[in-house]
C-alpha cells in the first residue's frame, strides 16, 4: 500500500485488553480498480455520515482502467477532523496482489479483514483477523456472472457493518442516494449486505475495539466532491459556454456540467439550452474557444489539469493582453510532464500565475473545499468579466475527486457582474468609445460586444501592441502606457479577489500559511499543537495576487510555515516576493508524495525544522 511511513505508536496491549475505540479510526479497502468497489466504499462513507459521524474518504487509484491495485480510505473522527491519516486501523484486503503489503501496513492493534481465498501467512499477534467469504456469498446470491465481482464488494460492506455497528437503514439510505432513488439495485445490494451481516454474526467473533456510535456532528453538512461543486457553482454563476478536453482529474468538472446543465438551464419559454458545451480536439482549442466566446459575450470556462495548462500558455497570454474574460479550472495532479495523473499536488500555482511568455500575470483563485469550489465557481465568472481577463481556479485531485464533508452551498450573495459593457444606446450618447482607455482609474476599459448594432461599436482585438483605441501600435509610449494600465488593473484585481481566511491567535509566534486541500491537516495539526501548548496562527490564501493582509500576517509572526504539496515550494516563493522584508521568516514546509498530507506528517516536519 502506498503510504508515508509514519505510524501511530498507540499500543502494546493486546486487542482484547483495550477499551472501545469509538468513531475515531481509519478503514482502508484494498481492491482492484474496475472491480466495482467504488459503490461499496461510497456507501460505507455515506452511511457513516448519515449516522452523524464526521468522515472523509480518499481514493488512491492507479492511472489505468482495470485490474490494478486501488485503495480507498475512510476516516471517522468524532472530533470532526477530515484530513487523511497515514495509518489505517481497519484493513480490508480483497486484492491478492497487495494483500501481503496491506497486512504489513495494518496499524498495530488493528483489524485485518481478508478475502478467505487469499492464501497468506497471518502471523501478527498485534492485530485481529477476520476472513470474508466475499466470492462465495457473491456467487451464491448473484446469478449474472458479470456482476459477481461487483457483488463481492458488498460482502465486505456487510461484514464491516457487523463489526463496527453501522446501521442498516443508513446503509440503505446511502445506497438509495448512490442509485439515485432506484429501488431495484438498492434491494439487490442490500440483499448481499444483509446476508453478509448474518454470516458474520454466525461465524465471526469480534476481537478488536473499533466501533461507531450515532452522534450528531454532520447535521447541516453535505457530502460532495469539489469537481461537481465547481460545476454547480459555475452553473449558478451563469456559465453559458464550456469548452473542454478530457483529462484526469479534471474530467468530472465537465461531467458535472454535462449532467446538471440540461436539468438547470433550459430556457423555460423557448425550451432551448441557455448554454453550449463543446468537447474540443485539445486544450489549445478549448481555451481558444473560451476566449472567443468570452469576447463575444458569453460566460465562458474550461477545465483541465497540468498538461492542459502547459498547452494553454500561449492563449493565456493572449487573454491577458487582449483582455478577454475566461475561467480556467486547473484540477491539479502531481508532476511535471505526465507525472502521476491520479495523485494530488499543488504544483501549478507559480505556473498558472505567470502562464504565458513575456510579462503576463494572472488572477488565481484557490478554493479550500467543495463549498468554496461552488462559491469560486460563480465568483470566477464575475471576476473574469469584471476584470476582463482570464481567471484561474486551482483546485486539486483531492478536493476535486474525493468526497468532502462541508457546509451546504450558499446561493450567490451578489448579483451577477457582467463587467463594463457599453450598449448601442450608450454609444450614441457617448459618441463612441476607446476600448482600452482607463476612464475609471481602475485600469479596466469599457468594451462592446460583437454584434452591437452601432457604427461606432466595433473595435479590433489583437495580441499585438495597440493604443487606447485598439489600433495596432508599435510606439514605445503606447506600449508602456498599456502595460502600466495592465499593472494598475492587476492592483484592482488584488482588491477584488477573495481575501485570505485568517485565524490569528493571541500570543502565537508561529504562523501557518497554506491553501486548498491541505487545510484540514493544518487545522488538525494546530489543534494537536495547541494540546501540547504551542500556539499557532493560520492564514489560508484564497487568491493571487496576494492581499495586503498576507503581508500583515507575516509581519506579525516570527516564523511562518508555508505548507504546500509540491517540490519547489512555489507558494513560499510567491510569498517571499510579496514580503521581501520578511522573506527569511518563511519556512518551506512542502510535501510531494502525491498523497494528501496528514497532520502527523506536518507536525513531524515542523518539529524537524525547529
Amino acid at each position: 500500500m502506498i503510504s508515508n511511513s509514519v505510524t501511530t505508536a498507540d499500543t502494546q496491549l493486546t486487542a482484547a485488553q483495550r477499551p472501545s475505540v469509538v468513531n475515531d479510526f481509519s478503514i482502508t479497502a484494498a481492491t482492484k480498480n474496475g472491480s466495482g468497489s467504488q459503490t461499496a466504499n461510497l456507501a460505507l462513507l455515506r452511511s457513516l455520515f448519515k449516522m452523524g459521524i464526521p468522515v472523509s474518504g480518499k481514493n488512491m487509484f492507479p492511472s489505468n482502467i482495470q485490474g490494478r491495485p486501488t485503495w480507498y480510505t475512510i476516516r471517522t473522527s468524532g472530533d470532526g477532523f477530515i484530513a487523511r491519516r497515514d495509518v489505517s486501523e481497519i484493513m480490508v484486503a480483497l486484492n491478492p496482489d497487495t494483500a501481503l503489503e496491506d497486512h504489513e501496513k495494518t496499524a498495530p492493534g488493528g483489524a485485518f479483514f481478508y478475502e478467505e481465498t487469499i492464501k497468506m501467512p497471518l502471523q501478527r499477534d498485534d492485530i485481529s483477523y477476520y476472513p470474508i467469504p466475499a466470492k462465495r456469498i457473491a456467487s451464491e446470491l448473484e446469478k449474472d456472472p458479470k456482476l459477481k465481482t461487483y457483488s463481492a464488494n458488498m460482502v465486505y460492506v456487510g461484514v464491516l457493518m457487523w463489526s463496527l455497528g453501522i446501521e442498516e437503514r443508513e446503509m440503505e439510505a446511502a445506497l438509495m442516494h448512490h442509485f439515485k432513488g432506484k429501488q431495484k439495485p438498492v434491494d439487490s445490494n442490500m440483499k448481499v449486505v444483509r446476508t453478509s451481516i448474518e454470516w458474520a454474526q454466525a461465524n465471526l467473533t469480534k476481537t478488536d475495539p473499533f466501533r461507531v456510535e450515532r452522534i450528531d456532528k454532520t447535521k447541516g453538512l453535505i457530502m460532495i466532491d469539489g469537481n461537481t461543486a465547481g460545476a454547480l457553482g459555475s452553473i449558478y454563476g451563469g456559465v453559458s459556454f464550456v469548452a473542454w478536453y478530457p483529462i484526469t482529474p479534471a474530467t468530472s468538472v465537465a461531467d458535472g456540467l454535462t449532467d446538471y446543465l440540461p436539468r438547470l438551464r433550459i430556457d423555460p419559454e423557448t425550451k432551448a439550452p441557455t448554454y453550449a458545451v463543446v468537447q474540443t480536439e485539445d486544450e489549445l482549442a478549448a481555451l481558444g474557444m473560451v476566449l472567443g466566446a468570452g469576447w463575444a459575450g458569453a460566460r465562458a470556462m474550461t477545465s483541465t489539469s497540468g498538461p492542459g495548462i502547459s498547452l494553454m500558455a500561449e492563449f493565456s497570454g493572449l487573454g491577458y493582453f487582449a483582455e478577454l474574460p475566461a475561467v480556467i479550472w486547473d484540477v491539479q495532479r502531481m508532476g511535471p510532464a505526465t507525472g502521476l495523473p491520479t495523485r494530488v499536488s499543488q504544483g501549478d500555482i507559480i505556473k498558472a500565475y505567470w502562464l504565458g511568455h513575456g510579462d503576463t500575470k494572472h488572477v488565481v483563485l484557490l478554493p479550500g473545499d467543495p463549498f468554496e469550489c461552488f462559491e469560486m465557481g460563480w465568483r470566477a465568472l464575475d471576476l473574469a468579466e469584471r476584470l476582463q481577463t482570464p481567471v484561474f481556479v486551482l483546485s486539486d485531485l483531492d478536493i476535486g475527486m474525493n468526497q468532502w464533508m462541508c457546509k451546504p452551498f450558499e446561493y450567490p450573495t451578489e448579483a451577477m457582474d457582467r463587467g463594463k459593457v457599453l450598449t448601442a444606446e450608450q454609444l450614441t450618447e457617448l459618441k463612441g468609445f476607446a476600448r482600452y482607455k482607463d476612464i475609471d482609474g481602475d485600469g479596466i476599459g469599457w468594451r462592446t460586444l460583437p454584434g452591437t448594432n452601432h457604427p461606432l461599436a466595433a473595435y479590433f482585438t489583437r495580441g499585438s501592441g495597440h493604443n487606447e483605441r485598439a489600433q495596432l501600435s508599435e510606439r514605445s509610449e503606447d506600449w508602456e502606457a498599456n502595460m502600466e494600465r495592465l499593472t494598475r488593473k492587476f492592483e484592482t484585481a488584488r482588491s477584488l479577489v477573495p481575501a485570505p481566511v485568517i485565524d490569528s491567535v493571541e500570543g502565537a509566534e508561529i504562523g501557518f500559511i497554506g491553501f486548498g486541500s491541505t487545510t484540514p491537516a493544518i487545522d488538525e495539526a494546530r489543534t494537536l499543537l495547541a494540546h501540547k501548548g504551542i500556539k499557532t496562527s493560520f492564514l489560508r490564501v484564497r487568491a493571487l495576487p496576494l492581499h495586503q493582509q498576507v503581508h500583515d500576517f507575516i509581519a506579525a509572526h516570527k516564523k511562518i510555515h508555508v505548507v504546500e504539496m509540491n517540490t519547489d515550494s512555489q507558494l513560499a516563493s510567491l510569498l517571499a516576493l510579496h514580503v521581501p522584508e520578511f522573506a527569511t521568516r518563511l519556512v518551506r514546509t512542502n510535501n510531494n508524495s502525491g498523497l494528501p498530507i496528514s497532520a502527523a506528517w506536518l507536525i513531524k516536519r515542523i518539529e524537524g525544522a525547529k
Binding site: D267, G288, F409, G463
Partner: protein, 367 residues
C-alpha cells in the same frame, strides 16, 4: 460610468437593419439594399506590400458584402497571424475583428460564433496559418461545421516571416534562404472535403469575377465554407516556377465552372440562367447557379468527382478553380446544439442563474 451594465442588445437581421452610415450628411448616390455606401465597408489602410494578392481579396470581400447588403455590425472577422491574417484590419472597419494567434483562429471563431450564432463569421488565414501550425484546428472546425466563411489566402509561402516554405509550397520550388522544397504540398481543399466540409471552392486573387460570387455564395452557406484563394506573394513567391505566382496562376488556371450568386432579394436571377446551369439551393433559401464548362462537366455535389478533380490536378501540379464541392444539407454546429433564436451572449442574467429553490433541492440530495 461606474456601474455594471448588462448589454442585452440584440442584433437586427440584415434585412431590417438600421442605416447608420458614418458618412453623415453626404447625399447617398450609391447605396446598397440596406442603404449603405461602399465606403461603409472599407477598412484601415493596408500595410501589405503594394501588389500583394491579399489586398485584392480584401477588395473582393468588400464588394461581396456591399453587394449582398450585409450589415457590417452583424459580421465578425477572424484571423490568425501572418500577412494574410492582418488583412481583416483592411476591410470593414465597422465589423468587429479578432486577430488571434498563429494557427488558432478556428477555435476562437468557434467560441465566438457559438456565443452569438446570429452573427456571420468571416475568417481569413494564410497557407502557413492553416496548413502548417493550424491544420488540426482547421480540420476540426470543418468537422464541426460551424457556420462561417473560411478564406485561405494561399501564397505557398510564409510572407510575414520573410519567405519560408509553407505546407502548400510546391515540391521542387526554390526560395532564397530556404533552398529547395522537398515535400509535396498539402491540398487544403481536399483536406476540407474529406473532413466533411459542405462548401469547398478554389479561386485566384486576381480574378474578381470568380472570387466575388464565390464569397457571396459562401456567406449564405449553412455551415463552414472553405475558399482556398491562390494569392500570390509579390515579395517572396513570385518566381515564375511557383504555382502560386501570378504568371503561373494565369496560365495554368483551369476553370471548371462559372458561379453566380443570386440572393433572394435580387431579381436578376433570370439574366444569368442558362441551359447547362445547375441550381443548388442553400440553407437560407438563396440559390447558387453553377455554370458548367463543357470540357469538364463537373458536378459539385459529387464528392468523388471533386476529390478526383483535386487529386488529378494535384498530381499535375495544377489547380482547378470554382466551386468544387457543395453539400447544403449538413446541419451546422449551432443547429446540432439546438440553440434557440436568442444568442447565448444575449440571454438575460435572470435566465442564466437558476433559482434559489433549485439549489436547495440539489443540496437536499447531498446529505
Amino acid at each position: 460610468m461606474t456601474q455594471t451594465i448588462n448589454s442585452g442588445q440584440s442584433v437586427k437581421p440584415a434585412s431590417v437593419a438600421q442605416n447608420m452610415p458614418l458618412s453623415g450628411l453626404a447625399k447617398k448616390a450609391n447605396v446598397n439594399i440596406i442603404g449603405l455606401e461602399k465606403a461603409d465597408y472599407k477598412g484601415a489602410d493596408s500595410t501589405l506590400c503594394s501588389g500583394c494578392g491579399h489586398d485584392s481579396i480584401s477588395a473582393q470581400i468588400i464588394t461581396a458584402c456591399y453587394e449582398l447588403g450585409i450589415q457590417p455590425e452583424s459580421l465578425i472577422k477572424f484571423s490568425g497571424i501572418g500577412c494574410s491574417s492582418k488583412s481583416p484590419a483592411y476591410f470593414m472597419s465597422r465589423s468587429f475583428g479578432f486577430n488571434s494567434l498563429h494557427g488558432r483562429m478556428p477555435s476562437v471563431a468557434q467560441g465566438a460564433l457559438l456565443a452569438n450564432h446570429s452573427l456571420q463569421g468571416l475568417g481569413v488565414s494564410g497557407d502557413g496559418d492553416t496548413g502548417s501550425i493550424g491544420i488540426g484546428q482547421f480540420l476540426h472546425l470543418v468537422r464541426r461545421n460551424l457556420r462561417m466563411v473560411y478564406i485561405i489566402e494561399n501564397n505557398g509561402v510564409y510572407g510575414l516571416t520573410k519567405g519560408q516554405f509553407s505546407a502548400t509550397s510546391d515540391i521542387g520550388q526554390e526560395l532564397k534562404h530556404a533552398g529547395k522544397n522537398e515535400l509535396p504540398p498539402i491540398d487544403l481543399c481536399a483536406e476540407a472535403i474529406i473532413s466533411g466540409c459542405g462548401f469547398v471552392a478554389r479561386s485566384f486573387a486576381g480574378d474578381p469575377k470568380q472570387v466575388v460570387p464565390l464569397i457571396k455564395a459562401a456567406l449564405r452557406h449553412r455551415g463552414t465554407a472553405v475558399l482556398d484563394i491562390i494569392s500570390p506573394c509579390v515579395t517572396f513567391n513570385n518566381k515564375d516556377d511557383s504555382t502560386k505566382s501570378y504568371t503561373w496562376g494565369r496560365e495554368h488556371d483551369e476553370r471548371i465552372n462559372d458561379i453566380q450568386f443570386v440572393p433572394n432579394a435580387n431579381e436578376i436571377q433570370v439574366e444569368y440562367n442558362a441551359g447547362e446551369a445547375k441550381e443548388v439551393e442553400l440553407h437560407d433559401g438563396s440559390k447558387i447557379v453553377l455554370h458548367k464548362v463543357d470540357e469538364t462537366m463537373h458536378d459539385p455535389t459529387d464528392k468523388h468527382a471533386a476529390m478526383r478533380l483535386l487529386t488529378d490536378a494535384h498530381d499535375k501540379q495544377e489547380f482547378v478553380t470554382g466551386l468544387l464541392y457543395i453539400d447544403p444539407n449538413r446541419e451546422n454546429l449551432a443547429e446540432v446544439h439546438d440553440l434557440g433564436e436568442t444568442p447565448i451572449a444575449h440571454i438575460p442574467n435572470s435566465k442564466l442563474r437558476p433559482s434559489p429553490e433549485s439549489l436547495l433541492k440539489l443540496i437536499a440530495g447531498m446529505f
